[in-house]
Symmetry: C2
Subunit: 215 residues, 2 copies
């Protein structure tokens, strides 16, 4: 069972500590604010009030035993100091929230394996979603491929997948059909003979521009 130390319990750190514990990891939650430590206590294995820039008290809090550490402090100086403390304590994997791109560069140079910029990441995902208003759900899998759930267009209703032939016409694959009759069910890997009904939704896989051409 992996142990994660979450340093800093702001909106991001608090939710991360809670979610990691829910996912089955043993979580040590650290903050120098007593109220936050008390609030997280019921959700995690260990909640300790301490200054994250102090290696001695961090070691006493058991942080050296963690496999991975995530620094979620929102001020640059204590954030950088906390990363250095985690390095000193020998943690295998250190992630840290960057407050600016320059801060992110500093963290990487200091050895953070991954730098997180929550606001910027969500902004980019939301922009993609807003740029595709006809798409119910839009996920970028890689620079090249995206997944999109789109409501069945009028011309699709009553046609089978092989009749629609989206792959040769648009270069887009239908990897799932969400049946209107069964809103929680997603039919994965539908068959060539499956017919689209009104109000069904199709889960498409393909390049963003090809999906956009289709809708």
């Amino acid at each position: 069972n992996r142990t994660a130390a979450v340093i800093g319990l702001g909106q991001f750190g608090f939710e991360l500590a809670k979610s990691l514990a829910l996912a089955g990891l043993e979580v040590i939650a650290i903050d120098n604010d007593e109220t936050k430590v008390r609030d997280i206590a019921e959700f995690v294995a260990f909640a300790v009030q301490t200054d994250a820039s102090d290696p001695k008290s961090m070691a006493e809090a058991g942080v050296a035993e963690a496999d991975l550490g995530i620094v979620a402090i929102g001020e640059m100086e204590p954030n950088i100091l906390a990363v250095m403390v985690l390095k000193e304590l020998g943690l295998g994997e250190i992630l840290a929230k960057a407050i600016t791109p320059m801060h992110g560069q500093i963290l990487r140079q200091l050895g953070a394996s991954k730098v997180i910029e929550p606001e910027r990441e969500i902004a980019q995902r939301l922009a993609k979603q807003l740029a595709h208003p006809n798409v119910l759900e839009f996920v970028e899998l890689s620079d090249e491929f995206s997944l999109a759930e789109v409501p069945a267009l009028e011309w699709m209703v009553g046609k089978t997948l092989v009749e629609m032939n989206l792959r040769s016409k648009f270069g887009v694959s239908v990897i799932g059909i969400r049946r209107h009759a069964d809103p929680h069910g997603l039919v994965l890997n539908p068959l060539a003979g499956d017919k689209i009904e009104a109000k069904d939704a199709l889960v498409l896989l393909g390049r963003e521009k090809d999906i956009t051409k289709l809708v």
Copy 2:
């Protein structure tokens, strides 16, 4: 061409304004801080310094013409006031960043079509990723289905998809293969006879617990 008004240019709002403009929308960026308005100006159609809680100056800034508005102010009072101003100006779709869950409830009751909590959303996604360390990329498509990119396990190398038969053994579908020989290429909808080579990665679709069982 849709017009979006982005109100508040903190980390989230600034990146959102930039990304929406990149995606081809006409963006009106609003902030009462002159420096931020100057910084965003090169990226968007219109950058206007004004108090977002003042309907008159917001109308003068052209915000009434926007199809959608996103309030990205980080303080509850001006955030709520800005949402009310966008409603008054008749915008069709209003999104807003919520600072606390209670604030989110208030925004929904006031008519925000969608409430965003960037830090909490990224924390939940990161927790999923950290909980699946053997998975290169983990995306939750819905409550039920997830997508995961996993490095080919030893027992898979040299086998064809039909030989591995992941669907009947694990309930998981292989919707893509990322060939080691071609790192930017993702082979979508691989064929039953496709063989897995060492260091390939498989893109799997299935329930989270089934994917986890496999890796």
